[in-house]
Every structure is written in C-alpha cells, then in structure tokens.
C-alpha cells in the first residue's frame, strides 16, 4: 500500500471504531434499558421516518445560526475598530460587552418572546448574543497586537489614523478575527438550537431543531432525539469547515500558521 493512502487511513479507521463502539455500547446495556441508547439500525430508521421533518428543521436552524453568526461577525468587526481606537473607549465599553455575554439566555428568552415574539428573529438575536463576545474580544486583541516596528514605519510614513487602522491594524488582526470566527462557528449552531428550544416558532413547518427535539422528548421518541443531536453536530461541522476554508483563503499565502513545514507535518 502506498504511504499516501496509509496516511489518509487513520480518520477512517477511527470512524469505523467509533461506529463499532456505538453499537457495542447499545448491546452492552441490559435489554430493558437499550431503548435509552438506540442501535445504529434504529437510528437509521429514525432518519428514514423523520428525515423530511428533520431536514426542514435543520434548514431553519441553519439559517438562524448563519444569520446570528454573520450579524455578530459584522457588528464585532465594527465594534472592534471602535474599541481599538482609544483606551478610554475600551475601558468604558468593556463592562457592557461582558455584561452582554453574562446575561443568561434563560432570562433573555421570556423577554424576547414578549418584545419580538417567538420565531426566527428571536432565535437570531440569541445566537448573536452567544457568538458576539468571542468575536469582539479576539478581533480587538488583534487590532491592538501590532508590532511596534510597523507602527513606527507608519508613523514615519505620516499615516493618518484611518490609514493605520485600515492598512495596518485590520490586516494584522485578520488571524485573530478568524480565531474568533472559529469559536463563534462552534457556538452558533448550539446557540441557535438552544434558542429555538426557548424562543423558536412552534407553528407547523417553521420550527427548528430545538422545537423538534422538544417534541421528540414529549413523545418519548428516543431515536428521534439522537437523530436531532446528530443533525445539530453536522450543522456545526459544516459551519466550522466553511470558516476554516475562508481562513485558508485569507491567510494561507502569508500567515505562519499555514507555513509549509506545518502542512508537511
């Protein structure tokens, strides 16, 4: 076997082991409790029966998490530029940003239902609240982490403040921004799912994965619950992969994290 093929092998071996382990765990339970951990065929059946419903719900949750995520990325980019512009602004605004992250979603949910009503907008707002903080913290850190020598260069070039911000600080902050995006990409689907559970629309055909999980749980459809979890994970993977792709596009030519040796390893 060629060494290239060998190197590709471990992930597949691991996946096979994972599935075998899953099946083994199911059979290791006493027969009376096996319903708590469905076998792979039972899971497959759940996908068959609930496929269309799951797919529709996944679509809603995907849109909401993407909406909240994109909104957070945009607002965070703007807010970071503001925060990086002066220490005073930073010190004044930081407590409020932290507050934003600290307010428990459980408490925000009923207020949102009163103000905005249940449905996609509320889900997007909750997702925004959950993903905003890591984005803004990382991006601001990036905007501030510019080499003194580069600042001197720009000062020697008699750069205006906006030139320093856009031509020096913003590109230097890109790697940090993408670190924030990666964290946010993991949080967004979880956030959207939780938000759907709390503030999602319950009217037929408009609910996301959270409400779907709620219904499965009410009906004691355990394989359905597991299938929902799997779909939720898949959403997360898709979003994280998309962000990694974007990061690669933006950074691989110049950033050290993509240097040749690192790829070799």
């Amino acid at each position: 076997m060629s060494s290239r093929l060998l190197r590709r092998l471990p992930p597949f071996v691991l996946a096979a082991l994972f599935l075998a382990g899953w099946q083994a765990l199911h059979h290791s339970l006493p027969p009376g409790r096996r319903f708590l951990f469905p076998s792979l065929p039972q899971l497959g059946e759940a996908f068959q029966v609930h496929g269309p419903a799951l797919l529709g719900a996944a679509g809603h949750t995907a849109l909401a998490s993407l909406g909240g995520f994109a909104l957070a990325a945009l607002v965070a980019a703007g807010a970071s530029l503001l925060l990086a512009s002066s220490t005073l602004v930073r010190q004044a605004l930081y407590p409020y940003l932290m507050g934003l992250q600290m307010v428990p979603v459980i408490i925000v949910a009923p207020i949102l239902i009163l103000w905005v009503g249940p449905g996609a907008p509320s889900v997007i707002i909750v997702t925004f609240l959950i993903t905003f903080f890591p984005l803004v913290v990382n991006t601001t850190q990036g905007l501030l982490s510019v080499e003194q020598a580069h600042l001197d260069l720009f000062r020697m070039g008699r750069a205006a403040r906006w030139q320093e911000l856009l031509l020096l600080r913003a590109p230097a902050a890109l790697p940090y921004f993408f670190t924030g995006l990666r964290i946010a990409a993991i949080l967004a689907p979880i956030g959207a799912l939780t938000a759907d559970y709390l503030v999602g629309s319950t009217s037929g055909g408009r609910s996301g994965l959270g409400i779907t999980a709620l219904l499965f749980s009410a009906r004691n459809e355990i394989p359905g619950l597991y299938a929902t979890a799997v779909v939720g994970c898949a959403l997360g993977f898709v979003l994280v992969s998309a962000v990694s792709g974007l990061a690669w596009l933006a950074l691989h030519r110049w950033h050290d994290s993509y240097s040749a040796e690192q790829i070799e390893r």
């Binding site: 020598a149 580069h150 001197d152 020697m156 070039g157 008699r158 031509l167 590109p171 240097s259």
Partner: protein, 259 residues
C-alpha cells in the same frame, strides 16, 4: 562655497526621564547634502536615539534640530531603514515597496514607476510577486531598502540595516548600497557596529562616546571612489579600519563589561 547643511543640530539633547540624566547630548552636528555618515559607538550610547530624533519619531528634550531647514518629522523625503526588514507579511514584495507611497497618496502610475525603479536598484525585480516569508533574510532587507528608496529620499536613515546578516551578504549589500548612492543624491546617516563596513561605505565617521551619548571623534574618510572589493585590501583602507577600531575601543566603557 559650501552648500547649506541638510541636517543641523545645535546642543541637541534627549532625556527619557525628565528628571534623570540626558541619554544623548548636548551634541552639535552639521551634515551637508550627499554625505554618507556612519555612526559607531558602544551599545546603548544613543545611536538609535539620534536617528529617531532626526526622523521626528522622538522629540528633542533640548537644543535645536533642523532637517532641510525644517523641524524633523515635517519632511516628506526622509526614509528610515530599520534593523529588521519590517515588511508587512500580508503584502507581496511589490505592494510592500509601495506602502509608503500609498500612504502619501502618490498616483498609481507614479507609484508603479518608482516601485519598479527601486526593485531594479536592489536587483529584486523578479521577486515582485513573492510574499516576504518566501524571501531570504538578505532579500527581505533589500526589499526594505527598496521601500525606502522608492520615496526618492533626500535623507536616508539606516539603523544597523545589515546587522542580522552574514558577512558575505553584508559586504554585497554594502557594495550595492554604495552603487545606488553614486547614482542618487541622498544623504545617509548609517548606524553600524562594524568598523570595516563604516570605513568602506562612508565619507565621514562619527564615533560616539556613552553616558551621555556625544561625538568623541568626527573623522573624514577620503578613500577614492569607486570602492569595491579591491578597496578592502588597500593599505589606506586597512590603516583607517585599525585607526577607527582603536578609537572605538578607547570610548568603550570597560566597566560595563567587567561585571
């Protein structure tokens, strides 16, 4: 008649701590257009500080300093080459060379012309599309030099630009720099730790003494041009190197190294 001075400082002094002793000066210095002035001196004696004062990055604590008859920092055609190449890693070589021109809103056509000329001077035209991390240390330094030359400066400040390079590369770059200086009329203040480099490149050498930084020796270097690898073997050159080395050793504070 003598041309009016390009750099003129009178009783110039710098203290970082308002109550503490001066790090540099009082120091008086006049540099005429076209001079290539090397600055030698022990570590910490204030060479970089002097350059930063002339560039306008630092404000003097006392005394006067005029560059082209204006306060420093107001001059558009002054360029600074730092010890590290300080290239922007996300820009290709060509864009790096244009950075300072872009900041000054030089038109695209003019930017392209000056960029190509500068890259030609440092013989890196074929690397225009490379990213900094694809270059060797010496090549990066040449891009940094090209970025400064693209400004078409009247004053070029160089702070140990070749300090991190091996001796061969250093010698090559020195010869290249001299060739460019012969073609362009800038005035150089060149900080270095290498006496040989200083003698080879300069029309004039300043030896600074420390605590506070002040000019201990101001020496003319009247070796003929063009200077090349032959020069490095000439008796006059070797005599000068020995002389300057001795003077430098005399101002070096032995007690700093005793501990």
């Amino acid at each position: 008649m003598t041309p009016p001075p390009l750099i003129h400082c009178q009783a110039l002094a710098k203290r970082f701590d308002t109550t503490g002793p001066a790090v540099l000066g009082p120091l008086s210095l006049t540099v005429a257009p076209g001079e290539f002035v090397s600055i030698l001196g022990p570590s910490g004696c204030g060479k970089s500080t002097l350059l930063r004062l002339v560039s306008g990055l630092l404000a003097p604590s006392e005394g006067t300093l005029r560059v082209a008859d204006r306060p420093p920092g107001e001059l558009d055609d002054l360029a600074y080459v730092f010890q590290d190449a300080t290239l922007l890693p996300w820009l290709r070589v060509a864009a790096n060379v244009e950075t300072l021109l872009r900041l000054r809103r030089v038109s695209t056509a003019e930017r392209t012309r000056r960029r190509d000329a500068a890259l030609g001077l440092v013989r890196l035209t074929e690397k225009a599309r490379a990213y900094p991390r694809q270059l060797s240390g010496g090549q990066r330094m040449r891009v940094s030099l090209a970025r400064a030359l693209a400004l078409e400066p009247r004053v070029l400040l160089l702070d140990e630009p070749f300090g991190a390079l091996d001796e061969m590369t250093r010698d090559h770059l020195g010869e290249e720099l001299l060739a460019i200086h012969a073609r362009q009329a800038w005035t150089a203040l060149f900080v270095t730790h290498s006496v040989a480099e200083a003698v080879f490149l300069s029309t004039r050498i300043l030896v600074l003494a420390p605590h506070p930084g002040r000019i201990a020796h101001d020496l003319a270097v009247d070796l003929p041009y063009p200077r090349n690898h032959e020069t490095r073997r000439a008796p006059d050159y070797l005599r000068l190197v020995a002389d300057v080395s001795a003077r430098l050793r005399a101002v070096e504070p032995a007690e700093d190294f005793a501990a």
